[in-house]
Symmetry: none
Subunit: 241 residues, 2 copies
Amino acid sequence: MSLNHKSPVPLHIQAEELLRKMIKDPQFQNGKLLPNEIDIASQLAISRTTLRQALNKLVYEGLLIRKKGVGTKVADALISSKSVNWLSFSQEMKARGIPIKNFELHVSWIYPEEHIANFLNIKTDQKILKLERLRGRPEGPFVYFVSYFHPRTGLTGEEDFKRPLYDILEMDYNIVSELSKEEISARSADKFIAGKLETEVGSPILFRKRFVYDQAERPIEYNLGYYKADSFVYTVESRRG
Amino acid sequence: MSLNHKSPVPLHIQAEELLRKMIKDPQFQNGKLLPNEIDIASQLAISRTTLRQALNKLVYEGLLIRKKGVGTKVADALISSKSVNWLSFSQEMKARGIPIKNFELHVSWIYPEEHIANFLNIKTDQKILKLERLRGRPEGPFVYFVSYFHPRTGLTGEEDFKRPLYDILEMDYNIVSELSKEEISARSADKFIAGKLETEVGSPILFRKRFVYDQAERPIEYNLGYYKADSFVYTVESRRG
DNA sequence: ATTATATATATGTATAAACATACTAAAACA
DNA sequence: TGTTTTAGTATGTTTATACATATATATAAT
């Protein structure tokens, strides 16, 4: 386990990558401390300063927590969405080393309801791609997504049926968007959602409605997310400007 | 324009604050470059390394853009993804034109529980101001707040008992803070909350935990908010950097 | 005039060293 | 036994220094 000092890739970047892999190791998962900075640095044959460059980045992303006089540990793997970081769901889970299981995927091509067509600024007689996904940890599902895509995304649905499944599942990677508006609220699970999320009717659900726009601020996706309350926390960091 | 080298506030934090003010100056607004790192550093009588600590933070936040061989400029001043929703409750309701009724106000002076003392970075044997507020529309309450204030806010509790009520009720206006971190989740109403909000036990609640910091990023308020699900939506607007 | 080439400038990377501060745990003390 | 002191450990802050690399500009060669 060491770095390539000859590589053109800066050492602090290499160290960062290595740390990202390292913190996925179960051995650091339960609040156990990482080795101290000086030891890691000497192990990697880099200076403490350089190592700290790498650590700082992960701390900023909320993956690591440092405490003076104590040490550095991996942040609790509770699922959070930092609006600042703009990580997609899959990316965030990957970053935290949480294995994601896809329980259901439903791709359909539908006439949009009026309020959806309204947001996407299209007519209701034009079919669009509807994507339903049920995802979670191996133990069980914890989120149910429904997405509607504007035709200009190129995701017309017809083509997507031909794509391999895993390609579609990883789709959120590819949608490069600029602006999103979200509405977060709490509601109780109805029969449908309770069934999907394997919980009881009436149990609390964190409901997220997301409006996604492209670089030109044209609407491209309308997304609904139903999160099991006990497995999702939404975090927001804001600064007075 | 210089820093206080005697202050307990670290120089890179002071530099960061100063830069935040600096970049608001119209003189840097139209893509014009800041002075170079070495000049700023010598101007502030700190090392380049320390200055870069401050600069890096603003770069991370997308406020500054650096280019090797060229210089550092202020990023286009579009609505920062972080300045989302920085309205206080009263302000927000006012903006929405909703008349607010205060149902209950409870000012007390308590020994903080450990996790609160921990966040506020004080000891548990030091009394602090606890403020409980039940608010809503004329028809009925829809939010229950609990706030704990750090002594350095000056809200020691003792003084506040002497203030007129309306003054305390409008207090959130006066607390000028810089940074806040919020965690939003859904939960069910327990007996206490259900009673306060005049709803049923088990009904969905939007729960918001808020950590508020001052300009030096020292904790000043710990705030809990319980919102009746059917009357509150949390909105977030974010922009990719 | 156009194209190389050198040079100045600004950020990027990396190190070693020293001291400060928060926290923990062991040792000394009452 | 319980409390205080002390030493040890880990992160936090800061500096001074050196060289690397990307960019823009001025200079020299074609």
